[in-house]
């Protein structure tokens, strides 16, 4: 019990970058655009956020910078995939690759530098509660922001007119266009939003989680975030579940190791990936269920 509270806190902290990025990619994909460039976008934003924070001395400025650079990088993808109707899969991969390379270029001056931010926070009063205080109320504001973002996304998709239009564009761009919606503009906006969220996720890594910049520091989290949207069958709250599940399995395998469990660490480290596969297979068993939720035009190019 004594160890459970910090384990929960660690899970929430570990799941947050995945949650932030996946929530943006969800909007992206609900509009019918699959952006496989998430990893590259997160890397670009991570270095931009770090640079912003380093030069301005303000974490907020760093986060804003990261969101901006994330959106711009995503728009490079958007202009090609939406504007020029290039293959989304291939374009996304190119952005993933290019982003990894460019961030390494831009990041060279920041290796070995540190930012002077305080990354520990407490929610007043609530943090002093036994158990729940440690488990839930001593986390960085971005952790709570990610949950707010989820609520906002869920509300936006389900309850607003704009959300309805966005989903219509993802379901059938042809019909949406025929009704008179600017399909490509909407898709570009969705891509930019997805990039901004990926940007925040990248900055969470380089400014909050481990405040430093090193080449390749996103280390595959962009891919996991992409996987989460599918895993969650494009539902916002299921993404929360998926992100924290992934975070918790990661933390649990480390906790098992620290307790000296006699299983090779490499095999334990497979757990998060295997768990993802198993859960995915379980929820996908019913094909109709997936098909209902999957944006019908996902990954397909649209031209008016």
């Amino acid at each position: 019990m004594e160890q459970l509270a910090p384990l929960i806190a660690a899970t929430l902290a570990a799941g947050t970058p995945l949650l932030l990025a996946a929530m943006g990619l969800l909007i992206n994909e609900r509009a019918g655009v699959l952006n496989l460039g998430a990893e590259g976008i997160m890397l670009m934003a991570a270095v931009a956020g770090f640079a912003g924070g380093y030069h301005s001395g303000s974490m907020l400025a760093g986060l804003a910078m990261a969101a901006l650079v994330g959106a711009i990088t995503a728009l490079v993808f958007g202009v090609l995939a939406v504007g020029l109707a290039t293959n989304q899969y291939a374009t996304g991969l190119a952005v993933a690759l290019g982003g990894a390379g460019l961030s390494a270029f831009f990041g060279l001056p920041y290796v070995g530098k540190s930012v002077p931010f305080n990354t520990t926070f407490e929610v007043p009063w609530l943090a002093d509660l036994p158990f729940v205080g440690v488990a839930f109320f001593k986390l960085h504001p971005l952790v709570y922001f990610a949950l707010l973002l989820t609520a906002a996304t869920a509300w936006f998709l389900a309850r607003t007119h704009a959300g309805l239009v966005l989903r219509a564009v993802g379901e059938s761009p042809e019909s949406a266009y025929a009704i008179g919606f600017p399909v490509r503009t909407i898709r570009l906006a969705a891509v930019a939003w997805g990039g901004a969220c990926c940007g925040l996720a990248g900055a969470y890594l380089s400014l909050v989680y481990t405040p430093l910049w090193v080449e390749g520091m996103v280390a595959g989290r962009g891919w996991i975030a992409l996987a989460l949207t599918t895993f969650a069958t494009w539902r916002p709250w299921r993404i929360v579940l998926g992100a924290y599940l992934f975070g918790s399995v990661t933390m649990v395998q480390f906790a098992l190791q620290s307790e000296g469990v006699d299983i090779a660490s490499q095999l334990l480290a497979m757990l998060p990936y295997l768990a993802t596969i198993v859960v995915l297979a379980l929820i996908s068993r019913n094909p109709a269920f997936i098909r209902i939720n999957m944006p019908a035009s996902l990954g397909k190019t649209f031209h008016p």
């Binding site: 590259g40 490079v76 090609l80 504007g83 020029l84 109707a85 290039t86 293959n87 899969y89 291939a90 374009t91 991969l93 190119a94 952005v95 993933a96 690759l97 290019g98 982003g99 990894a100 390379g101 460019l102 390494a104 270029f105 060279l108 080449e215 595959g220 891919w223 992409l226 996987a227 599918t230 895993f231 090779a264 490499q266 095999l267 480290a269 497979m270 990936y273 295997l274 993802t276 596969i277 995915l280 297979a281 379980l282 996908s284 068993r285 019913n286 094909p287 997936i290 990954g299 031209h303 008016p304």
Partner: protein, 350 residues
């Protein structure tokens, strides 16, 4: 605002011009980067695109680098044509290298030809098995193949780590995470010693030729592509989606597994923690650069290898940072994809 207008007929001129434009754009950006770093662009371009091809050794090295890229890209091109989004060729390659190593370590120094052949066959089987897992999960439980193939790649990477650190660690290797070197009999020989280019390259080229026949001249290849491009039409015609899943993934796994076997039994001669340097991921780009055609994959894997080796040379000769390789690969793909748009569309300003 400019808008794209579909052409009534795909433009032949653009079809020819697109790759040229893409290459020119990439070359232009290379030159700009060189200039930005204060190097002579002409000299820089020479290091990138000419020096690697100047010697027989250089050509052999390009061929060696091409082999895994080409094998994986061929399989992936087939998958993508069948609308199966396998991005886990890397994992399938690793599974192949694991299986090949298992075979190589278990057979004694016997008859050379059989031993080497067994190792390669084991590799192919290992890759096919790993891809088969993805196919099974997709077919049986409808699990998304992008996700499953990617997760299985991570699992395969950890499996390699486990094996080289544990059961297969070389007892004479001072506890470093490598297996013992394979016997000569269990290795894939070089075509022209002392150059490292091995028979895997020939296999890859033959596979490309077969791939062309399979895709464009065989009924089953045709069926796969129809079921990929127009699943509904395919269903009406009685073509099975399941066939597409299994055939494309198994072929891709086999080819990627071969690539893994040729790495461990070829230039490496042992299984190490870093068998692959992301060949399976780079091959996705190769497949698209090659426009999902076997011949295109041959050329694209050549260009990609040239960029990798050119990138190394530009570091040691010109002192440029290593990230230039990734940037150029990304730019090349983006440029080709954008240029390809104008094969089927034209821009109207209004």
């Amino acid at each position: 605002m400019p808008r794209l207008e579909p052409r009534a007929e795909a433009s032949q001129a653009m079809r020819f011009a697109a790759p040229l434009v893409a290459l020119l754009v990439t070359a232009g950006i290379t030159a700009c980067l060189m200039f930005g770093f204060g190097r002579d662009p002409v000299d820089g371009m020479r290091v990138f695109f000419v020096v690697p091809l100047e010697s027989a050794r250089g050509l052999a090295e390009i061929g060696l680098k091409m082999t895994p890229l080409l094998l994986c890209a061929l399989g992936l091109a087939l998958c993508y044509r069948a609308n199966i989004w396998n991005i886990g060729a890397e994992g399938q390659l690793l599974a192949g290298s694991i299986a090949a190593t298992g075979m190589a370590l278990s057979i004694g120094p016997g008859n050379s030809h059989v031993a080497g052949l067994l190792v390669v066959i084991a590799g192919a089987a290992g890759g096919a098995l790993w891809a088969g897992l993805t196919a099974l999960l997709r077919d049986r439980w409808n699990a998304n193949e992008i996700l499953v193939s990617l997760m299985l790649t991570y699992v395969a990477q950890l499996m390699v780590l486990y094996l080289v650190n544990g059961p297969w660690r070389d007892p004479a290797g001072m506890n470093f995470p490598v297996t013992r070197m394979f016997d000569a009999a269990a290795s894939v020989g070089a075509i022209v010693p002392p150059y490292r280019l091995n028979w895997g390259f020939v296999v890859a080229l033959v596979a490309a030729a077969f791939g062309w026949v399979f895709l464009f001249r065989s009924r089953i290849g045709y069926r796969l592509q129809v079921s990929g491009n127009a699943p509904l039409a395919a269903r009406f015609a009685g073509f099975s989606e399941r066939e597409g899943i299994w055939v494309s993934l198994l072929i891709c796994g086999t080819l990627a597994g071969l690539a893994g076997a040729f790495e461990v039994a070829g230039p490496l001669g042992q299984l190490t923690a870093q068998v692959s340097t992301g060949y399976g991921f780079a091959a996705i780009i190769v497949a698209w650069l090659g426009r999902l055609t076997p011949l295109g994959c041959v050329l694209a894997s050549f260009v990609m290898s040239l960029i990798v080796i050119g990138g190394e040379l530009s570091q040691s000769r010109l002192g440029l940072p290593g990230a230039i390789t990734m940037v150029l690969q990304g730019v090349l793909l983006l440029a080709l994809l954008s240029a390809d748009t104008f094969v089927n569309y034209r821009i109207r300003w209004r």
